[in-house]
């Protein structure tokens, strides 16, 4: 995708499975993509398509034993981190790669002060003295736009609003200068004006420190605003990947096209209907043979009974559809 640099992270044929009461589901099914230093990449798709599972797999936080990374490679700076043991992986987490989750309340510890939680990783990874870690914590809080950082340090998560907690999560995520931040729906539970504040903060921090950002969301607008490259997932697979402008202007998968057409536009008239994608979201326990999108697709023919592999349509654009040339 980017010949000049070598990828920071390269995911190859990732297969992550869960044992459920109804059988084994392939939550990430042969997922492959690359992340380059300093870039913002968006992963979009609907509930259950495997976005979080992909993120958790990278961090090796898949709950065991019912969840398992079955196959694949995750190369960080050309080294397969799937071979690392837990202790080695801890040196990567928070230090080289950070993750920010949707609900900051569940990822912050309710009984520890913000000071404790914000200094923890710096003490662990950076070997700072407590006094210096505390000073850096104050700087970080300023950086993420928190008013009165010194008094914030003494507070507990429940003393803060949802937006402030998410700022704390960002401060923790950047505290050890990671090379990559994975933000999994970082603003979904927040109000729109607060969402805009948080995302702008995250973006400018990543820009100034040349940190790569993976932005996971179901919101096509957020992706359009921040990501240069976009990955679209459906039923555990990547169905399309391309640079943002190409993918939005000329999608090469019927699911992407359907998603783009079904979002209401700000200036649309109440008399006009939206173009909805028919049918229901896929059930991973019960996928059709061949292409998973078949039951909702208007382009189907016999070819679709064979599972499409993702193939290039141009230099930086890939799709997993047999019939993409017929897409209008």
């Amino acid at each position: 995708m980017n010949e000049l640099k070598s990828p920071l992270l390269k995911i190859e044929n990732l297969q992550t499975q869960f044992k459920t009461s109804e059988g084994i589901i392939k939550a990430a099914n042969n997922v492959s993509f690359e992340i380059y230093p300093g870039e913002v990449i968006g992963i979009v798709g609907e509930s259950g398509c495997g976005k979080s599972v992909t993120a958790l797999s990278i961090m090796q936080l898949i709950p065991k034993p019912h969840g398992e990374i079955k196959d694949g490679q995750i190369l960080y700076k050309n080294k397969d981190i799937l071979n690392l043991n837990e202790k080695e992986m801890q040196k990567i987490r928070g230090n080289e790669i950070s993750i920010i989750f949707q609900e900051p309340m569940t990822s912050l510890n309710p009984v520890l002060t913000i000071e404790k939680q914000l200094t923890e990783q710096m003490l662990l990874h950076l070997g700072l003295k407590y006094k210096d870690a505390r000073l850096k914590a104050i700087e970080l809080l300023e950086l993420v736009g928190m008013p009165d950082p010194k008094s914030i340090l003494k507070k507990y998560p429940h003393n803060l609003s949802g937006g402030m907690r998410q700022r704390i999560m960002i401060a923790i995520a950047i505290s050890c200068n990671p090379k990559l931040i994975i933000a999994d729906e970082p603003t979904t539970s927040l109000d729109v004006t607060i969402q805009a504040q948080i995302l702008e903060t995250l973006k400018s921090i990543c820009e100034t420190s040349d940190t790569a950002l993976v932005l996971i969301t179901h919101n096509l607008g957020i992706i359009a605003r921040y990501a240069k490259r976009v990955i679209v997932m459906y039923a555990g697979k990547i169905v399309e990947e391309g640079n943002a402008v190409d993918l939005y202007n000329s999608p090469k998968h019927p699911y992407t096209l359907g998603l783009l057409r079904s979002v209401p536009k700000l200036n649309s008239s109440p008399d006009a209907n939206l173009e909805a994608i028919p049918g229901n979201p896929p059930d991973l326990n019960n996928l059709p043979n061949g292409c998973s999108f078949q039951p909702r697709c208007y382009l189907i023919n016999e070819k679709c009974n064979v599972e499409p592999t993702i193939t290039p349509v141009s230099d930086q654009h890939r799709t997993a559809c047999w019939n993409y040339t017929e897409l209008n």
Partner: protein
């Protein structure tokens, strides 16, 4: 100009909540609604947007007469809800319904889908004959785009979008005139949201319904509403015809809301100037003096902290509550 169906007149809802402090019993007042006046016209969709805690659900509950406002009143077809006897109230209850945000929580998991839809019909004693009732339920299921054969199945066998269709069928069961839709698509997937919006529009035309459509997301509201009211901390700050509100927003909060919505078009987004608000939403327990928006407002001055703005008509179709706009 169409006829007004619902009048909301200077409605205040001040919840008394006892503070959770261990050491002293403190009584706090949450000003969920603080003087809301608006009317909803027959057969229109009025969109109501605002951030979490701005009072949208509370307003919906007042209109449904599920809670009594601390001050002010709501009237339906000219009848003031607080002043009705129980017989009159029952006849009005038949005409208004609600659909909630979360179709997982709002459908009783132990009832079949047929029984869920039958419930309001039975409560209002509408179709005593069982066969006729089943007939009606099946036709309702078809109306909302579900297979009538699912009548004996339970909610957990359905996806979110299908459950929301069942909730809509239940709301339609007693042929209401007016439905409060409280974030009916917020919990649904993007591809399913459009299906439900289209269904709601179709039903509105088919049954001449009036909607109050509550949402966080202005882009969704714009697509279904004829008019939009913007709420902030218990106040309506702007109300206008949908097209005017988007093309020509007046209130700084409306401008910020519109600007905060990212457009799904990378080329447009990269050229767009955005107005990012500073600060947090204040608590409705202790709202700012004067204009409640002034703590985040980019154009507020001293006057805004001492004078309460009121909704002023600035054109035939647009009302704004801001001291800086004349």
């Amino acid at each position: 100009m169409s006829k007004s169906l619902i009048q909301i007149n200077n409605v205040k809802m001040h919840y008394k909540s006892s503070g959770l402090s261990l050491f002293r019993k403190s009584q706090q007042t949450v000003k969920a609604l603080d003087g809301v006046t608006l009317s909803i016209n027959e057969k229109e969709t009025l969109g109501l947007v605002g951030e979490s805690g701005s009072g949208k659900t509370t307003l919906g509950r007042c209109v449904l007469n599920l809670i009594k406002p601390t001050e002010g009143y709501v009237s339906f077809n000219g009848l003031i809800l607080n002043e009705l006897n129980s017989k009159q109230m029952r006849s009005i209850r038949k005409q208004i319904q609600i659909v909630f945000q979360d179709p997982y929580a709002s459908l009783n998991p132990r009832m079949t889908c047929g029984d869920i839809i039958a419930e309001p019909i039975i409560i209002h004693g509408l179709i005593p004959n069982k066969t006729e009732r089943e007939h009606k339920i099946k036709s309702l299921l078809e109306t909302v785009g579900l297979n009538p054969n699912i009548i004996n199945r339970y909610p957990n066998e359905f996806s979110g979008g299908q459950r929301q269709r069942i909730a809509i069928a239940r709301a339609l069961a007693i042929n209401p005139k007016f439905i409060v839709l409280d974030e009916p698509i917020s919990s649904l997937d993007v591809s399913i949201q459009a299906q439900i919006i289209n269904l709601l529009k179709k039903l509105q035309r088919q049954f001449n319904l009036t909607y109050l459509f509550i949402a966080h997301d202005l882009s969704v509201v714009s697509n279904i509403s004829n008019r939009v009211a913007v709420m902030y901390l218990g106040h309506i700050v702007e109300i206008a015809d949908t097209a005017d509100l988007y093309k020509n927003p007046k209130h700084p909060y409306t401008k910020a809301l519109i600007s905060a919505i990212p457009i799904p078009d990378p080329t447009l987004e990269s050229q767009r100037k955005r107005l990012i608000l500073k600060g947090e939403v204040p608590s409705p327990i202790n709202p700012p003096s004067g204009c409640v928006f002034r703590t985040r407002c980019p154009i507020a001055d001293e006057k805004c902290s001492t004078t309460n703005p009121t909704l002023k008509k600035i054109s035939e179709t647009q009302h704004v509550s801001c001291l800086k706009i004349s």
